[in-house]
Structures are given as structure tokens and as C-alpha cells.
């Protein structure tokens, strides 16, 4: 089998899964087996594709051609493959976790949940493998729409209000700014294909390019760059598996992935490095990193704290993309994978604490480490990885990002990264510290761990954090591929 | 330029048109509105008819050797337009009758008040008698 033959399957499998989930909705066990099996299958397909892929034989697939000369096409490249790998690996893991969580929590409308989940993954795959900006945009919007019912899942007033914020910010920025940038690019260059080195003529004016870059980066609301970050904390009303996979991995990573793609394939790093707007955006990313970290410290609700932490970490990747040098982009690309594993672990733990101990606030967690030692251990691993300390995966990407800021001569941003890491320690490590060392307010009896499937999922992702430290080289080499 | 009295037909047209238009806008009574509308349309008919009139002219259709002829087309056209206008008035009057049946009034202000009452507090279709203000 060749990569070309795999491509149609990779993009259709999640959507077929969604249909299968709807059809088997009446039998929960069957429905969840379908979801789980599809997730494993999806990962195998993507892994095979990565193995078979080589720059010479890049597969491509034209889905439709709505506007003459402008196709809606898929064409994987290394960064996309990495994103697809991460998303498809974490899909079955999250499904496993969701089975424990959704049943343990007695949620309603589970069929709709699993179906929308599968569609979201399909949209993420489409974003990862898109061969042109139009296809990316189409799947980007699909992802917004498919995750909307997941955000409003509970159907309460609060959930519906959050859903409104979610839809308006994400759709508003993408239709108002991103689409505008896409059409403008098409009008200027007549192409939207991702082209190494960028699509613009060398003599295009700097001001014009700067404006376009602003539109692209700010229009990608999913990257949660301030001031368009409000949707992410709002989305935390969703069930935890959604927050874990979609709002720590698929959706937000789709945002920063889009920005990386635009930086590398629409503008080209050389062009980008010469733009003043890129520096401004890097500064905005730096500001986002710091402010979001500071806000995270003030949040008592665990999921809200994690959400702001995500906003801050996304800033790292945007920053890397805007630096316009190799270390920055590779660091940003790797951070997609590293942060994904770390943050999903943290969310799994937050959900487990909610299901097992019915606690949502950091201040309630005193002494919980004795009740749920495994969960707390996983949380510690995830937190250390995100802070960027060895021996966990987050180390490498932060290292490269710092390197990138030094290469670009932006020492102020280097300082921002380091200060932010300190803040990370304060607001993330507070949780296990309270859990293990603080005395509980009320006497609690014995161990009450999370449901087994959830524990299993946490174990897998926490181990992932560790393994990514020792086996980071394949990822590093994969990401380097985009610069060739 | 010809003097004002040569253009007196246009003056008549403009006067009728403005009078009709004013009545349509200013009058609250639906029947009066329709009268204004008819006046407005009639002014246009006169405009067309006077267009086709030539002093001493005759349409060169049945007779041979007409030298001073008038174009009959505007008159024919306006026949159609009159039919349209009559139909409009008929439909308008029929609607006025039905409005009178439904609201008990043909004054625009009354109708608006009744509609607003129906809107408040709830939008009530008239087939639900318990919500109806009557």
C-alpha cells in the first residue's frame, strides 16, 4: 500500500465513524467499541502514511474544485503528519477515557457526543493534511461547527451562553479576518496552494504583506491569541474529554498549526523575517504568554486554570512561528506534540478528580494525593513536562524556542519565555503540592481512584510525556522536513 | 421654449399626480388611500394620452392618405394600464372589506394599535380566540 492509497481512507474514516456511531446509538457498548476501534484504526493509518511518506512521493487528492483553478485538495507534509499523528493517537486514548468519564458522570446525549467527536477528529485530519489554504479553511470551519454541540453539550443556560461566545469569536474571526486574508491572497497571487518559500511575488509591498499577516494571525481565532482568547475558557463548560482532546489538542493545535502553515508555506520564512508586522505579532504572543500565565494564577477553578495555561502555551507556538527562523518554527512544531501530551494528561486528571471526588476547585484539593495518588502522580508528570523540565518532552521544544528568540536577537522575548516558565511552576505545581502535602479540611476515608479506563488513558499519556524526552529525535527530524 | 400654457397638459398631470400621492401618504383611511392611488394612476394615464395627441391628427389605420397623423400606440397601451389599475383598485377594495371584517375598522391607526396589542405580551394568531383582544 502506498501513501496515496491511504489518503482517502484517512480523511473518510472519522466521518464514516460518525455515521456508524449514529446508527449504533441504541447499543452503547457497540457504539463505544466502534469509536475505539476507529480511533485505533485511524492511528494505524496515519502511522503507515508517515512511514511511507517521502518528499518525492507526496500523495495528493483533489476533493472538489468549487472555483475554477482553485482546488480543494489534500497533500500531507511533515508538519501536518505530525499533527495528524498526535491527534489520531490521542483520539482512541481520549475515547477510552471518555467511556469511563461519560458513564461515571451519567451524561445525556452520548450518541451525539461521540458522533460530533468523530466529526471533529475528521475536521482536524482535514486541517492537518490540507494541501491548500481553501481546504484548510473549509475544515477549520467544520471543526468549529462540529465542536459547537460538544461545548453546549450540557444544554444548560451557562453552556448555551458559552456556546454563543465560542461560535461568535471563532466564526467571527475566521469569517471576518481569515477569510478576508484568504480571498485577498487569491486576488493577489491567483493561488492558494501551500508552496515552500511562500506564494507572494518578491516585490510585493511590505505594508501589504504585513497587513495580510496580521489578518491571518489574528483571524486564526483558534490560536487563542489575545484579545481573541475568551472562547477557550468559555469552552471549558464542555465535558472534560472534550476539553482534553479538543481544547487542549485538536482545536487549539489546529489554530497554531494554521499559523505555522501560513508562516512557512504562504509567506515563507525569509519573507516573514523581514516583516515588521511579524515582530509586532511576536510581541503580542509574548504578551499573551505572560498575561495568560498571570490570569491562570488567579483562577481557582482547575479547568479554567488549565485553559489559561493553554492560552499561554499556544502563545509559545505563535511566537515560534513569527520569529521567522528555523529554530523557532521547529520548536513551535515540536511544541504542538509536546504540549499536547502534557496538557491532555492534566485535563484527564482534572476530569478524574471531578468524577471521583466531585471537586473542581484548586483550593478543595488539599490532601487529595492520598485519596487519588495515581491521578496526582500523572498530574505532576504532565505539569513538569509543560514547565519544560527534564526528563519530559516539553524540555526540547522550549529549548528550541528559546534558541529561536536568541537567533532572532529578541532577548526580551527570551526573558518572557523564562519568566513564563517560572509562572508555570507556580500555578501548575500548586496542585500536586496541595494534593500531597496539605492537610485535608475534612477527614476522608481511603483511596477512591478514578474509573479504570480513565486511569489507563492517563497512564498512557503520562508515559508519552516521558518517552518523548528520550525519543524526541524522530519528531525533530520530521519537523525539520518542512524547512527542506 | 414654449410658454407655460402650451404645456398645460403636463401641469394637469403633475397636479393630479401630486394630489394623489399626497392622499396616499397622508390619509389614514384605507378607502381614501385607494382613491388617492387611483388618482395617482389616472394622472399617468392622462400623461400617456396627451403624449399621443396631435392637433387635428388621426391614426393612419383605417383611412388612406393621412398626412397629419397621430400615434395610436399610447392610447392602446393605456387601455391595458387602465385595466391593470381597475384590477388593483378591485383587489384593494376587497382587501379593505376583509380588513374591516377582521379588525372592525379601516383606519390605519386603529389597525396598528390592534396589531400592537396582539404583539403584547404574546404574538397571537387570530385563529386563537382566547388571545384575541376582541
Amino acid at each position: 500500500m502506498s501513501a496515496q492509497a491511504l489518503l482517502p481512507w484517512i480523511i473518510t474514516l472519522p466521518f464514516l465513524t460518525a455515521i456508524a456511531v449514529l446508527l449504533t446509538g441504541r447499543w452503547p457498548n457497540l457504539r463505544e467499541t466502534v469509536s475505539l476501534a476507529a480511533g485505533v484504526g485511524q492511528f494505524i493509518l496515519v502511522a503507515l502514511m508517515t512511514t511511507y511518506w517521502s518528499p518525492e512521493t507526496t500523495p495528493s487528492l483533489v476533493l472538489a474544485e468549487p472555483i475554477p483553478g482553485m482546488a480543494l485538495s489534500l497533500s500531507p507534509e511533515p508538519l501536518g503528519l505530525l499533527f495528524a499523528l498526535v491527534a489520531s493517537f490521542l483520539w482512541p486514548v481520549t475515547t477510552l477515557y471518555a467511556i469511563g468519564y461519560m458513564r461515571g458522570h451519567g451524561e445525556e446525549n452520548q450518541t451525539r457526543f461521540y458522533a460530533a467527536f468523530a466529526i471533529s477528529i475528521g475536521a482536524a485530519m482535514g486541517i492537518a493534511l490540507a494541501g491548500d489554504m481553501l481546504a484548510l479553511f473549509v475544515f477549520y470551519e467544520l471543526l468549529t461547527l462540529a465542536t459547537y454541540p460538544l461545548v453546549t453539550h450540557a444544554g444548560t443556560d451557562e453552556a448555551r451562553k458559552a456556546g454563543r461566545v465560542y461560535l461568535v469569536i471563532l466564526m467571527g474571526t475566521s469569517v471576518g479576518l481569515l477569510l478576508f486574508a484568504v480571498i485577498w491572497t487569491w486576488q493577489l497571487t491567483g493561488t492558494l496552494s501551500f508552496t515552500p518559500g511562500g506564494v507572494f511575488e518578491p516585490d510585493t509591498g511590505g505594508l501589504l504583506l504585513g497587513t495580510l499577516l496580521m489578518l491571518y494571525v489574528l483571524g486564526t481565532g483558534k490560536a487563542a491569541l489575545m484579545p481573541f482568547h475568551r472562547w477557550l475558557p468559555a469552552a471549558m463548560v464542555a465535558p472534560t474529554p472534550v476539553s482534553a482532546l479538543l481544547h487542549a489538542v485538536a482545536v487549539v493545535k489546529a489554530g497554531v498549526f494554521t499559523i505555522l502553515k501560513v508562516a512557512v508555506y504562504i509567506f515563507g520564512l525569509d519573507t516573514l523575517a523581514g516583516l515588521a508586522a511579524a515582530d509586532w505579532l511576536a510581541a503580542l504572543a509574548g504578551l499573551t504568554i505572560l498575561l495568560a500565565s498571570l490570569i491562570a494564577m488567579t483562577r481557582d477553578n482547575l479547568k479554567a486554570r488549565l485553559a489559561y495555561s493553554t492560552i499561554s502555551q499556544l502563545g509559545y507556538i505563535v511566537l515560534g512561528a513569527m520569529l521567522g527562523n528555523a529554530a523557532g518554527v521547529v520548536g513551535g512544531g515540536m511544541h504542538i506534540a509536546m504540549h499536547a501530551f502534557g496538557k491532555i494528561t492534566l485535563f484527564f486528571c482534572a476530569g478524574a478528580i471531578l468524577v471521583a471526588a466531585h471537586k473542581t476547585r484548586v483550593s478543595e484539593l488539599d490532601g487529595l494525593g492520598h485519596q487519588m495518588p495515581l491521578t496526582m502522580l500523572a498530574f505532576t508528570i504532565g505539569a513538569v513536562s509543560i514547565v519544560g523540565l527534564p526528563p519530559f518532552g516539553g524540555t526540547w521544544s522550549k529549548w528550541l524556542l528559546v534558541q529561536g528568540t536568541l537567533d532572532a536577537g529578541l532577548w526580551l522575548l527570551t526573558a518572557v519565555l523564562l519568566v513564563s516558565s517560572l509562572l508555570n511552576i507556580i500555578y501548575l505545581m500548586a496542585v500536586p503540592l496541595r494534593g500531597f502535602f496539605a492537610t485535608p479540611a475534612a477527614q476522608t476515608s481511603g483511596m477512591r481512584e478514578a474509573p479504570l479506563p480513565s486511569l489507563l488513558a492517563m497512564g498512557i499519556t503520562a508515559t508519552g510525556c516521558l518517552l518523548l524526552f528520550f525519543y524526541a529525535e524522530p519528531i525533530y527530524r520530521l519537523v525539520w522536513g518542512i524547512l527542506l | 421654449m414654449s410658454n407655460v400654457s402650451d404645456l398645460f397638459n403636463y401641469w394637469v398631470v403633475v397636479f393630479l399626480m401630486m394630489a394623489g400621492f399626497y392622499v396616499v401618504i397622508a390619509q389614514g383611511n384605507l378607502i381614501k388611500k385607494l382613491i388617492g392611488l387611483s388618482l395617482f394612476q389616472a394622472s399617468v394615464f392622462i400623461f400617456y394620452i396627451s403624449l399621443g395627441f396631435v392637433e387635428g391628427g388621426i391614426a393612419p389605420i383605417l383611412e388612406e392618405g393621412v398626412s397629419n397623423y397621430a400615434n395610436p400606440l399610447p392610447h392602446v397601451l393605456i387601455l391595458t394600464a387602465i385595466v391593470v389599475s381597475v384590477a388593483t383598485t378591485a383587489v384593494g377594495l376587497a382587501l379593505a372589506v376583509r380588513i374591516h371584517e377582521a379588525y372592525g375598522s379601516i383606519e390605519e391607526d386603529d389597525i396598528q394599535t390592534l396589531d400592537l396589542e396582539a404583539d403584547d405580551p404574546d404574538e397571537a394568531p387570530s385563529d386563537k380566540p382566547e388571545d384575541s383582544p376582541r
Binding site: A64, P66, I67, P68, L72, L134, V138, E141, L145, P149, T152, G155, A159, R160, G163, R164, V168, M171, G172, V175, G176, L179, F180, I183, W184, W186, Q187 | F21, V24, L30, K33, L37, F40, Q41, V44, F47, Y48, L51, N71, L73, P74, L77, T80, A81, V84, T88, V91, G92, L95, A96, I99, A102, Y103, I111, D115, A118, E123, P125, S126, D127
Partner: protein, 494 residues
């Protein structure tokens, strides 16, 4: 005699003849069958006609054998055939849908007359698209308008009657304005044939008479078009008319008015005169933009869903007018394209509302609570066509927005491009309210949970909803013809 030669006549004469037959037969079922058959046959004629026009250029047909400019000429160019196809296709869909919805919404004794009026509206609108004679256009316009006043007044709510009266007054003023305009043109040129008008007007175009005629015509058509701020008649008329009528009018009536506008200002007067010498381009851009903004904003605050969509129609007319105001081939073709796509989405949305009204009796926002569960197919169709209305990629609406923004950017008017996209966001807001109510709100207690609408309603609805998706991905048909029609229109007739 070859039937193929009479296609232009056939498309309008079938419904025109079928209308009195409906009244004479006087039975609801038979009347429906006749209406359906004649509109399907008209659709076939329109499709054949379009094919002929694409291959062999403009078709001219002399009514009664009188040669133009004395006789009335039916003249179908690409644009005419294209709009005719839209009108016939929407009419056929609406007729197929009508039977059960009409039984529920219209008094039984009135049903045959209802179908007759529906056919007259259809015939009038179709007639406008094929005629080559300015006065004939006015007559067809009045045929369709008079019938639509009657139809709107057949709604169950008594406000339908007052809305119909309001529409009658404003519509008649608009029509009379058009008549005055045509009279002025005739005064200066001595002809009513549009071809002749177009040839003779340039010689006299700087007279005050022609300019006054131009102004009267534009305002008159603007009224029919529901061009902001002349749109006041539209929201109530659409909101209280029977569902079938709203669907037919929303999908076709404003489209045909846009066609009439294009025909007069570009074909008859010439783009150089209307959009160059006269400042109509600025006016259209200004009013179009205001329409998009204001009407969309008003739509967000409507509680009656039909009124909401009616305001949305006013906004969508703004997009088309904006495209025409750009006065470029790209702008006009974007307008023509949106004409087609908007017919698809509004047709589908109003048919879906008809299905909801069929089950619920009314269509206030709160009646939609929980419908996502109880009427899944209807709501799914609303979501699909709503996405198209917003302009989400993969739907027809995206394609029209794309071309419109492209045409705007061609002239570096980027604030306008932003405005178009803001319009999309507003559409997201009002459609979002609907979707939220349907899927995430629980119905009030003691309300009867409705069942899904019957298949005869769902089928035409889904044909249109699917068309929204199809034309979002495969656009050879509509984009290709829109671009050809626009260049044919702007570069003079072949």
C-alpha cells in the same frame, strides 16, 4: 411548426392558461395537480431554452407574428434564460411541496383560487424574464403583483390582510413609477422595444426627460426589489403570508426584480450611462451596504422566525445590489450568481419553516425549542441552508460571497469587503439563535411534541437543501453561466 421554436412562449403560457382551469375545476386536488404539471412542464421548457441559449445565443420570438418593434417581442438572452430557469425551478419545487401545506393553511373553499393565483404569480415573473418589450414587462409585473397581493391576504393571521394592503399600496406606487419611466422613454425614442430603446437612447441620453425617466424607473424597481430603505412592505408580507407563498416570493420575486434592474440599467440605458454618468453606482453601493448592515441587525432581534428570514432577504438583496453597483464584470456576475444561490437557500429555509408551521401552527423562536429532536430532518435542512446563508465554505453561499468579495477587492474597496463579511457574522448570529433554540433548549412544559413533517414536504425541501451543498462544491453550471451572462450584458448584445 416545431415545438422547440415556441419555448419562450411555452414557459409563460402554460401557467397562464392553467390558472383559469384551476378555478373552473374548483377542486383542490385537481387544481394542485394542474398547477404542478404546468410548472414542471414550464421548467422543462426553461431548461431546454437555457440549453438552446447557451449553444446558439439569444432567442427572439415574435408574439402573434408581428415583427418588432411594432409587435411584442419575446427575447431571451443568457441572463433571461438563467433567471427564468431559477423561477421555474423554484415554482416547480414549491408546487410539489404545496399540497399538504396548503390544505392546512388555506380555507378549503379558496384552494383552487389559491393555486390559480400562485400560477399567475409564477407566469408574471416568468414573463418578465422573457419579454423584450418594456411595456409588456410592466404588464407582467402587475400580473404577478396583483396575484401576490391576493395570495398574501390568504394567510391565517389577520395581519396578513393588512400586510397585503400595505404591499398593494407600495407595490402600485412602484409599478406606476415604472410606468411613468417607460412613458418618458417612449416620449423621447418612440419605441418600447428594449433593443430599439438601447440603440436610440444614447443619442438623447443627456436630456432631462431621459434622466427623469431613469430616476422613475430605478425608484419603481427599487420598491419591487425591496431595496433598503424601500423595503418596508416586505417583512410583514413574507411573515404573514401562507408558507408556500412566502417560499415562492422569497425565492423568486425579488430575484426577478433584480433581473429587471439589471435589464434596464445595464441593457437598456447602458452601464456607461447608469453607472457612470448617473451616480447610480454610488447609490447602489451605499444602499446595498446599508441594507446588509441594518436589515441583518434587525433580523437578529426578531422573534418571529419568518420575519427574521424576511429581513435577511432584504439584507441579501443588499449583496446583489452591491455587486451591481461595482459596475464591473466581476461585480455583476457575483450579483447574478448570488441571485441563483440565494433562491436556493431562501427557498429551502422558507419551505422548512412551512414544515414547522405545518406541525406547530406557528413559527416563533420559542416554538423551535426541542425541534432538533422531534423534527430532525426539517431542522437538519434548516441547518444546511442556514450555513449556506452564512456563507460557510462547502455551501453555495460561500461561493457567492467569495466572488463578491473578490469583485470588491478588485477595486480596492476593502472596507466594503469587511462589511460583506460582517454581514456573514450577523447572519451567523440570527441563524445561531434558531439552531440553539432547536437543539439545546427544552420545549416548554405541556406543549405537544410534534412529529416529523410528512414526506411530501420533506422531499422538495431536501432537494433544495442538497442543491445548496452541491452548488457549493460543483459550480460549473451557475458560475459559468453567471459570468457569461454578465459579460454578455456588459459588452453589448451579440
Amino acid at each position: 411548426m416545431n415545438l422547440g421554436d415556441h419555448l419562450p412562449l411555452l414557459a409563460i403560457i402554460l401557467p397562464l392558461l392553467a390558472a383559469p382551469v384551476c378555478v373552473l375545476i374548483g377542486r383542490a386536488g385537481a387544481a394542485w395537480l394542474i398547477a404542478l404539471t404546468s410548472s414542471v412542464l414550464s421548467l422543462a421548457a426553461a431548461a431546454a431554452l437555457l440549453q438552446g441559449v447557451v449553444q446558439e445565443r439569444t432567442v427572439s420570438y415574435q408574439l402573434g407574428g408581428w415583427a418588432p418593434p411594432w409587435g411584442i417581442e419575446l427575447r431571451v438572452d443568457l441572463l433571461g434564460a438563467y433567471v427564468l430557469l431559477i423561477v421555474c425551478a423554484m415554482a416547480a419545487m414549491v408546487m410539489a411541496y404545496a399540497r399538504r401545506s396548503v390544505i392546512r393553511e388555506v380555507e378549503a373553499a379558496l384552494i383552487p383560487a389559491f393555486y390559480a393565483a400562485l400560477l399567475l404569480v409564477f407566469a408574471g415573473l416568468a414573463g418578465i424574464t422573457v419579454t423584450g418589450d418594456a411595456f409588456n414587462l410592466f404588464v407582467f409585473l402587475e400580473i404577478s403583483s396583483l396575484a401576490s397581493y391576493a395570495l398574501i391576504s390568504m394567510g391565517r393571521d389577520r395581519r396578513a390582510v393588512s400586510a397585503a394592503f400595505q404591499y398593494l399600496v407600495m407595490g402600485s406606487i412602484g409599478a406606476t413609477f415604472i410606468l411613468i419611466g417607460i412613458g418618458f422613454l417612449y416620449l423621447m425614442t418612440g419605441t418600447l422595444n428594449m433593443q430599439d430603446l438601447a440603440q436610440r437612447l444614447p443619442a438623447v441620453s443627456d436630456t432631462r426627460t431621459v434622466r427623469a425617466g431613469f430616476a422613475f424607473l430605478t425608484v419603481g424597481i427599487g420598491l419591487k426589489l425591496a431595496l433598503f430603505p424601500l423595503h418596508l412592505w416586505l417583512p410583514n408580507a413574507y411573515a404573514y403570508a401562507p408558507s408556500v407563498v412566502s417560499a415562492l416570493l422569497a425565492a423568486t420575486a425579488t430575484k426577478v426584480a433584480v433581473y429587471a434592474l439589471l435589464r434596464f440599467i445595464i441593457d437598456v440605458f447602458g452601464a456607461d450611462f447608469s453607472l457612470g454618468d448617473m451616480p447610480l453606482n454610488l447609490l447602489l453601493i451605499l444602499l446595498g451596504s446599508l441594507g446588509i448592515l441594518v436589515a441583518s441587525l434587525v433580523a437578529v432581534y426578531q422573534d418571529n422566525v419568518k420575519r427574521m428570514l424576511a429581513y435577511s432577504s432584504v439584507a441579501q438583496v443588499g449583496y446583489m445590489v452591491l455587486g451591481i453597483g461595482l459596475a464591473s464584470a466581476a461585480g455583476v456576475s457575483a450579483a447574478i450568481l448570488h441571485l441563483f444561490n440565494h433562491a436556493l437557500m431562501k427557498g429551502a429555509l422558507f419551505l422548512a419553516l412551512g414544515a414547522v408551521a405545518y406541525q406547530m401552527g406557528r413559527v416563533r423562536l420559542k416554538d423551535f425549542a426541542g425541534l432538533g429532536r422531534s423534527m430532525p430532518w426539517t431542522m437538519a435542512a434548516i441547518v444546511v441552508s442556514g450555513l449556506s446563508l452564512i456563507g460557510v465554505p462547502g455551501t453555495a453561499g460561500f461561493i457567492s460571497k467569495w466572488y463578491l468579495v473578490l469583485a470588491i477587492l478588485e477595486q480596492d474597496l476593502w472596507p466594503l469587503a469587511m462589511l460583506v463579511l460582517v454581514g456573514s457574522i450577523l447572519a451567523l448570529l440570527y441563524m445561531g439563535r434558531l439552531v440553539e433554540a432547536a437543539y439545546f433548549q427544552h420545549p416548554e412544559k405541556n406543549t405537544v411534541v410534534p412529529r416529523e413533517a410528512p414526506l411530501s414536504l420533506l422531499l422538495p425541501l431536501w432537494v433544495l437543501a442538497t442543491a445548496n451543498l452541491y452548488f457549493g462544491l460543483f459550480t460549473d453550471l451557475n458560475v459559468g453561466i453567471a459570468q457569461q451572462a454578465s459579460s454578455q450584458l456588459l459588452e453589448g448584445r451579440p
